[in-house]
Every structure is written in C-alpha cells, then in structure tokens.
Amino acid sequence: MSVGDNAATAVERAVTDAHRREWAFVLAATARVAGDLDLAEECVQDAYLAALDAWARDGIPRKPGAWLTTTAKRKALDVLRREQVFRAKMPLLVEPDEVAMDEPDDDAIPDDRLRLIFTCCHPALARQAQVALTLRLVCGVGTGDIAKAFLVSEPTMAARVTRAKKKISAARIPYRVPDAGELPERLDAVLTVIHLLYTTGHTAASGADLVRADVVGHALNLTRMLMALMPDEPEVRGLLALLLLTDARRATRTDARGRLLRLEDQDRSAWDRAAIEEGRDLVADAFRTGRVGRYALQAAIAALHATADSYAATDWRRILRLYDDLLKVWPSPVVALNRAVAVSMVHGPQAALDEIEALRQDGRLNGYHYLPAVHADLLRRLDRPEEAAVAYRAALSLADNEAEREFLAARLAEVLDPAS
C-alpha cells in the first residue's frame, strides 16, 4: 500500500469516526440556521462528503465536529440566500444574525442536541414517527436500516420520516427544550422512545439480525448522551441502568439453538459483570436523589435479579416491595402481571392466582400472551396440569414471536406428559 492510500484510509476513518461521534451535534447546530430539519440534514450530509476531499487535501482538522458544523451551516446559509424569496416564507427557527459563522472551536458552538432530541420526540408526532426520526436525525441511521429494524419496507419508512419532518415544519413544532413545567412529561416521552428502540433490538431473533443489534447499541449511546446532557435527571440514570442490566443478560436469553430460556434456567456466570456493576451504581445514584420514577424502579428490580446467586435465592420480598412502588407511579396492568409473579415467589402460587383472576376480569390484557402464560405456570406449580394445558394453549394462540411459541409449546408438552 502506498503512502497516499494510507492517508486516504486515515481520512475515511476520521470521517466515519466523526459521523459516529458528532452527527447529532453537527445536525443539531445546523438545524438552528437552516430553520428546517430536512434542509439541515441535506447540508450535514454534504458537509461529511466535502470532508473526504478537504481533509485529504488540507489534513484532518483538530476539531472535526467544529469543521463539519461550520461547513454545514455555511451550506445552509447559501441555500437560504439562493432561495431567499421562497424561504422568506419559511419559518426560521432562530434569526440568522444570531449565528456566528467563524467560531474557531466547538466550545463556542452551542450544544443543541437536546433541542434536536426533544423535537424528534414531540408529543404531536406519532410514536412510530418519533422513533424513526430519533434514529434518523439523532443517530444518523439510514432509512433503509431503520426500515429493516422495524420490519417495514424502505418506501414505507421513508414516507413516515418525510411526513413527520413536514409536520414539524408546517405545524411549527418548536426547536426547543421544554420549560420546567413540561419537562417531566416531555422527558418521559424521550425515555419511552429510547426504551422502545432498545426492546425492538433486544427482542429480535438472536444472531441473524445485525441491524437490530445496532439498534440496541444506538439506544445505549443515546441514553449515555442524554445522561451527559441532563446529569441531574434521575430517570435518565434509571433508564441507562435498566438497559445495562437487561443487556448484561442478553447472551443467555436463548440457548444455542435460539430457544428462549427462562430467567431461572439462564447461566448466571455468563452475565456481563461490568454492565451489572455499572447498572447497580446508577440505580444507587438515582435512589439517592429521592426522586425515583418508573425507570429507576424497574432498574432496581433488574439489579436484584442480576446480582442474585440463583432464581430461588433472589430477594423476592424486596422485589415485591419495589413492584408495589412501581405500580403506584405507573399503574399499568403489565406491571401488575409482573408483580403477580413476585407475589407467587413470596406468598405462593395460590395467592398469585387471585391477582391473575383480577387481571383477567380487568380485561385490558386480553390479547397479551404473557397473561395466560403466567397463569399456566402458576397452575402447573399448583399441580393442576389440565387447567395449565388450557392456559398454555391460550398463550400459544396469542404469541407471535417464534422463539416464544417454541418455548410455550415445550411447556405445554411437559404438562401433558410429565414423564417427558
């Protein structure tokens, strides 16, 4: 390989690196000038392209993020000037004279990434659109890959993203971090989007799907970024803890053949100790603030599972108390169902059966396979195999994930023929 080739590779690597690290920062800063996310995205893409030539010619800048931001902003201003008559009608997010063009270093560039995240997760956008926009604009993921992760066609995903961007511009969804009064609710929407990203990647069939593994990585990076930007929000810490503690067990969720393993059957020695440690510290931090919400509480439960020597030796009493608290801040039937499992471990399966009966009467979880699956498991433990079989069949008819269907079919076979 010649010296020139080496240099070219170094430049490519620097650009790729800057894409991974600085995309959100560059786009967020450019959006201020462009007044329109679509135009901003175009200009940022152009800036990354321009970097390939310019950095090969002039050397890699000391602060690639600042170089990219200045270049993208300049392109945006050029477009605005060229289309002045048309753009005069377009809403500007900030007045152009607020923009200083020749900032020598990125310390002087205001960090607008929070504005970008809150805009992508604005409640006036559908959840699906929030998720797609966050991946696209904050993480810089291509539409094709987003489509693959959410199992829709690329044109469908492209239309979804375009529609959302048009709504932001036409309805004037502001490019702003919400004020203190709105912040808790708005932050919750952001955390929900990130959590949804994580679970989309996490519940994917193991191995085959690399795109979905990337989505897990993006969710973790987004949460770390959010924590750096909002260090005083315990729920951000809670979410990062929850993701780390869940992800620490990712490798053991399925066996070598891709079949789901129950928590009690997983190889605890293969869990990621470093991730568990970090998650546990974050939970402790969040609890010290005295302002714990649903993510910190879920993370605390996950931490107790992750640090227990075995399923039986788990501190179920504390887990049950945490579920009581969780149900208070988040009165969801899914939480009540998970709490019922904890009840069964503390007070026995018969007590839990009453909770399940209440949930069946409630009706909101009809259609959710996990309700009859838990029901079936309790009946099995109470040595009522015929009733358990009925409940396993009900769960099977509702589950759509292949790994879960296989798991339920195996349990059904067990209660039908205990000798096997």
Partner: protein, 114 residues
C-alpha cells in the same frame, strides 16, 4: 405569527343552546387566557347543531354532516400563536372538555411565494 385553526368537537348534534353553565362561564374567560399564553384570537364561530347541516357530493344532496360520526364539529376559531406548543396550550385550555368534547389543531396553509 403562524395561524392555526382550532376545530371544536362535541357529541352530536353539538347544540350551542345545550351547553352546560360551567362551559358557558369558562368561555367568557377564554379570550383573556389565550392572550396570557401569548396567542391572539383572530376569528371564531359556533355552529347550529349538526341536524341543520346539509352535505353536497357532486349532484347528491343529503341531510346531515359530511361524515356521520358520534362527534361533530360544533364550532371553530382561528388563533395566532408563535409555535405549536403555544397553540396546543391554548387548545388544552379550551373549555369544551367540560362538556366531554375536544379540539383538533390544524396549521393554516399559506401558499409559498413565487
């Protein structure tokens, strides 16, 4: 400032003579609240009940609203607001919720200049 239409929906037929005294009293206070939030009312109308509506599709003339639904447009108004967040705050304060109704916020279209 951008303008938004706010469409007010109520259970059919949406009769303005049948609104609750609470709703009526709250409506008196509403314009001042809109200003406090940083918006401005441009125009507003209440409609006769949807039983008085006539719909026209080409040559076909039918009695009743254009789309048969449990809820109907009972009125509409236009506001100016600096952005959607302010428009939504104004919409949330609309007292129609006292009578079980709700509103839809739609930005007004302005054609791009040539």
């Amino acid at each position: 400032m951008p303008q938004y239409a706010v469409l007010v929906y109520q259970a059919a037929p949406g009769d303005p003579m049948q609104i609750s005294p609470e709703y009526e009293a709250a409506l008196e206070r509403y314009p001042a609240q809109v200003e406090e939030l940083g918006g401005r009312g441009v125009a507003g109308y209440a409609l006769q009940p949807s039983t008085t509506a006539t719909s026209v599709r080409g040559d076909l003339v039918t009695d009743g609203p254009f789309i048969e639904a449990k809820e109907v447009v009972a009125g509409f108004f236009v506001i100016e607001a600096p952005d959607l967040d302010v428009a939504l705050k104004i919409a949330k304060l609309n007292p129609v919720h006292l009578d079980g109704g709700g509103v839809e916020v739609r930005p007004l279209f302005t054609p791009p200049a040539e």
